[in-house]
């Protein structure tokens, strides 16, 4: 992949990557930094991109890894600066989520915040799966393909995630998600 192609990818996918970074990190400054970092990594590792996946999938993987690292780093530093949806005014939160997180359904807005809160309780692979499923809105088949796990494994991990999330977050309403899993 040439330098110019990375520029083209930026024009095409930057807004998608920014939205998902914002959804995961919950902070505009962090999301902007993450966006830059994702494309810088793409710039550096463009020669290694083998096109066995689509460019958007490739960028999404980079973004996921980076955002999960940032979240882990925050936890290590006991750094809780996330602009949680609870801290925003109701209308503001809806605008933020609807327009920038790209979460069209009411339940998804809570999902993004909940996922962020409980992510650190899980191993890295489960974190990835939860992000793809709840934040990116992938189907189970798409998540299985993206994360490289079988469907039964995927369902088990998602169920574990939901059970733990339910026990940790009182306000969590699993109806929408649970319905899809069953």
């Amino acid at each position: 992949m040439e330098l110019q192609e990375v520029g083209d990818l930026y024009d095409k996918y930057a807004h998608i990557i920014y939205a998902r970074c914002l959804g995961l990190l919950g902070d505009r400054v962090d999301a902007e930094e993450a966006l830059q970092e994702v494309f810088l990594r793409a710039l550096k590792s463009r020669k290694g991109f083998r096109r066995d996946s689509s460019p958007m999938t490739w960028l999404t993987r980079i973004a996921t890894n980076h955002c999960l690292n940032v979240l882990r780093s925050r936890k290590r530093k006991s750094y809780d600066r996330h602009v949680s949806l609870e801290k925003l005014e109701d209308g503001e939160a809806k605008t933020l989520d609807s327009h920038l997180l790209g979460l069209p359904f009411g339940s998804c807005m809570e999902n993004a915040a909940t996922v962020r809160k409980v992510l650190s309780l899980f191993p890295r692979k489960t974190q990835e799966i939860a992000v793809y499923y709840f934040v990116d809105g992938m189907s189970q088949a798409e998540v299985a393909l993206m994360a490289g796990v079988s469907l039964p494994t995927l369902r088990k991990r998602l169920n574990d995630f939901i059970e733990t999330a339910r026990s940790h977050v009182e306000s969590y309403s699993p109806n929408g998600v649970q319905g899809e899993l069953e």
Partner: protein, 265 residues
Amino acid sequence: MLEIRKEEGHPSRWAITRAWTGDLEGCEADEIMVHVSKCKECTEILKILEMQKQEFVNSPVMTRTRMRLKNESKSGVRYFAMKILRIKLLVPAISLAAAAIALALFFPKIGRQDIESPYATRSKGAKGLELHYALLTSSGPVERKSGDLLDPGSRIQFMFKADAPGFLYMASLDSRGKVTALYPGTTKNKPVSPGRMSPLPNSIILDDASFERVFALLCPDPLPRNRLEHVLALEFAEKGSVRRIEHVSMGHCEQVYVDLPRRLP
């Protein structure tokens, strides 16, 4: 495979996003877009994606990130330029190092050859000490004899061989009476190992004196510092010419000398 959430009957948000951005192509994308055009819920997703893109394009984030990427890609070019530059500098450095190693390996070889060579310079009066020198040229060291004419500015390397252990002292005296210490220099003098040809630690560059005589002494005991230089200066003061000094009054030391006359312009 059309990515449909069968449990809901809609394409996943991810699949809609991919179809909309053009990441998904062909029949799959067409099928999804046909569904979206007929489905109110999925049309909402599409509208949100479009608003989201519009908002991002109008935000400073887009420009800031683009600028940074541009700068980074330029620094990438600089990086490769530096890499090439480093390679350009590296090649001469490696060549020099290889030449130095070859030189270091070559000298003992010359020394061994010189012992049997008819051109080897055995200075007058020496029994247990041999002194040789070679002219260092771009094509390598060239063995020369005492009395050979040399150009000012030439670099020469001395080698010596002692038959018995002792302390080596070397100094030169030129036609102007200038005395230069050559060995042991500033370091503490250690006894030399007998039986093998050894080069001096440093080569020397000849100045524009018309004649120079280099004295080497092998003494059984260490001498006071600068003793040889002091004695040579006294000898020159007494005899008035370096050519008349064939022996230095230094007790029981073995002595040799080598003449280095200059080629006059």
